[in-house]
């Protein structure tokens, strides 16, 4: 997929960790600022429908997206802005879809987080939680049939989605077929308003791995360095033929379920726990303390991101809205099947 220009392309030779970290950080920053922009547009009534933000989960998401390559499959969910960018989704796909422009990938037919480019490996989520995982499985089965080696597929879900039958059938299917699936479960402590105590009863979701016969990994989702190592490691394991990898990342949802939600139900004590940290500030601190970049550079990245976002938004809001009279109103690919 075509990357936006914001971030230098990965060097062809294996990049060193600080370089990867910097790239990841810049995707996180771009995602955070882009989502803040959409949020402000939403508050001023310029966005129709729901707005779902990733705040607090950018590290997990970016670590997933950045570990994937062209030819891999990615099924992001509602809090994967950073991972989408890192996987190669252009900022315009994001802004055009949120404003519902006809020129966006969903052409105004579907919106916000439901965007994707299936042919390029970026699956467009349907709302039904857990439903995308088996679609990734099938993509990987296809690659196997086609003799395409070395590709992997990552699916992202929240802890709430682990209660769906679809999640269960899909991870078991991946295990039976020994597919290179990386299933990243972000445990952000809430499913909408529902706390973990009402969602599951195991002491740690990673304990599900053994019951499926897949490898399990746990990671502190607020620590980008950890996420890059653990999720990157899981992706490499899958790529090398070790079968499905279940990654459980802990974090806290630092925003409402959607921008309509004030999340008053969140237990304030959680915010003081390590998992309540903002992964972006943690990553920033890591960069500075390691001297991987100085404050001036960070500032320039920040400015640069804002510029790109302004550009993408300015372009997108000028784009034409969909025109019902130009729609063929036919759900079939075979147009002769259209009736009435």
């Amino acid at each position: 997929m075509s990357f936006t220009s914001a971030v230098p392309h990965p060097a062809s030779k294996a990049p060193d960790f600080s370089e990867t970290f910097r790239r990841a950080y810049r995707w996180m920053l771009l995602a955070r600022l882009a989502e803040e922009k959409i949020s402000s547009l939403f508050r001023t009534g310029k966005i129709t429908g729901g707005v779902f933000l990733s705040k607090g989960q950018e590290a997990i998401s970016v670590a997933t997206g950045i570990a994937l390559r062209d030819g891999d499959i990615f099924a992001p969910l509602i809090r994967d802005q950073a991972g989408r960018l890192a996987f190669g989704e252009s900022l315009l796909d994001f802004t055009l879809t949120y404003v519902g422009a006809r020129s966006g990938p969903m052409r105004g037919r579907d919106g916000n987080v439901h965007r994707g480019r299936p042919r390029e490996g970026m699956l467009p989520m349907i709302s039904h939680l857990g439903a995308m995982i088996s679609v990734v499985n099938g993509s990987l089965m296809a690659h196997r049939f086609q003799g395409r080696r070395g590709t992997v597929g990552a699916a992202s879900i929240g802890e709430g989605a682990t209660s769906t039958g679809s999640f269960h059938e899909a991870i078991n299917q991946a295990a039976v077929e020994r597919l290179p699936l990386i299933l990243v479960v972000t445990n952000n402590q809430y499913a909408y308003s529902t706390p973990n105590s009402r969602q599951f009863a195991c002491s740690d979701l990673v304990d599900k791995a053994i019951g499926y016969g897949v490898t399990g990994h746990s990671v502190d989702g607020t620590d980008l360095a950890e996420c890059l190592k653990v999720i990157g490691g899981a992706v490499e394991l899958a790529r090398s033929g070790a079968g499905p990898q279940l990654v459980v990342a802990s974090s806290l949802r630092l925003v409402g379920h959607g921008e309509h939600d004030d999340s008053h139900y969140v237990d304030p004590r959680l915010k003081d726990l390590p998992l309540g940290r903002d992964c972006l500030s943690v990553a920033e601190a890591t960069i500075l303390s390691n001297g991987w970049a100085d404050a001036v550079t960070l500032e320039s990245w920040h400015k640069d991101s804002l510029l790109q976002i302004e550009e993408a938004v300015a372009y997108s809001i000028r784009e034409a809205a969909p025109d019902p009279s130009r729609e063929d109103w036919c759900a079939f690919a075979t147009k002769e099947f259209a009736e009435g």
């Binding site: 105004g108 579907d110 916000n112 209660s163």
Partner: protein, 335 residues
């Protein structure tokens, strides 16, 4: 109005009750009148539900308004077991669209239990349904035409604040499994001055507006588009009768035929997809049972045959509106 008003307040003329509040009040009444009633669904407890249809109820009725995991199949399955053991479960789907993953328990377990064993299955599955701007393909669906095909299911589609209240109470009292299609578009748009103490029984349609030139048969949010269309045509000298089905299964053929006997013309309108569904069933019944009452070919108006679009421009064209209904009526009257 954000908190629940204690029932008596509801009768003060200056307080207006929305369709959504009527649903909440009906649940409050059922919970206080009948110890067998409990409510189960995602985020419906302390949080009060995605649409606030249960706001305050968990606090008022401790232990009887329960947050479920994201497990629609198990949500419905457990309600069936509880009903067998004498409870009156109300299950809230967060959106009707998500009932497709609880589908099997509804259509194969709940719907067949009484016929197979003689033991009734009195569960109510609340399905917030229908289109609203910007909701898109998976938060806008109307599935009454899907569920109504299955023997054993009662499918209700309240179109007014009064019916939202009394039909939900009737659903909870009903011995049969009820798919309760509450329309999200009406949640805040509709207001009434008070809640009714009595109502038509399940299975009876209502003449929402009397007329003599043509009959519009519809339900749910489309009732209000149809009423607006009828109003518009009045200015052109046409008197349109509008029937609110209220219940699509059972379907009140008699009321529809009696109306067609008066008007000789019928237009069936639904908000959902054109193949099959309520309009096909209504027109097929009228054509076969009331053929000689018809002075003109019966007509149907449905949404377009695509998923429900996200963008308001597209959504506004996808579903019927007062305008497309009156256009259809004009051609029906010309036939």
């Amino acid at each position: 109005m954000n908190q629940i008003s204690p029932p008596r307040n509801l009768y003060f003329r200056f307080i207006l009750i929305t369709y959504l509040e009527a649903i909440r009040e009906a649940q409050a009444k059922a919970l206080s009148d009948d110890p067998r009633v409990y409510i189960y669904g995602q985020d419906i407890g302390f949080f009060g539900g995605a649409f606030k249809a249960t706001k305050g109820l968990a606090q008022r009725f401790p232990g009887r308004v329960i947050d479920s995991p994201i497990s629609e199949d198990a949500m419905v399955g457990s309600a069936i077991g509880a009903a067998i053991q004498g409870m009156r479960p109300v299950v809230e789907m967060q959106f009707a669209d998500f009932s497709t993953v609880g589908f099997n328990q509804i259509v194969n377990q709940a719907a067949t239990l009484h016929w197979r064993t003689g033991v009734p299955c009195p569960i109510t599955v609340r399905m917030p349904c229908g289109g609203t701007t910007g909701s898109g393909p998976f938060h806008s669906q109307n599935l009454e035409g899907i569920y109504a095909q299955y023997p054993g299911l009662v499918v209700l589609t309240p179109a007014t604040v009064e019916d939202a209240y009394s039909m939900l109470l009737a659903a909870i009292e009903c011995e049969d499994p009820v798919v309760f299609c509450e329309h999200k578009y009406l949640y805040y748009h509709l207001k009434a001055e008070s809640l009714p103490s009595e109502a038509l029984p399940i299975g009876k349609a209502r003449i929402a507006r009397a007329g003599r030139d043509a009959t519009v048969v519809t339900y749910g949010a489309m009732l209000h588009e149809a009423l607006a269309a009828a109003e518009e045509l009045l200015s052109e000298g046409w008197q349109i009768e509008v029937i609110d089905l209220r219940s699509v299964k059972p379907l009140d053929t008699d009321t529809v035929l009696a109306s067609v006997a008066r008007t000789g013309r019928i237009l069936a309108v639904s908000e959902t997809w054109p193949w099959g569904g309520v309009t096909a069933e209504v027109i097929a019944r009228v054509a076969s049972e009331g053929f000689n009452l018809l002075d003109a070919p019966p007509m149907r108006l449905n949404a377009k045959d695509t998923p429900v679009p996200y963008h308001p421009n597209l959504w506004g064209t996808h579903r019927p509106t007062a305008k497309t209904i009156s256009d259809s009526l004009r051609s029906l009257l010309r036939l």
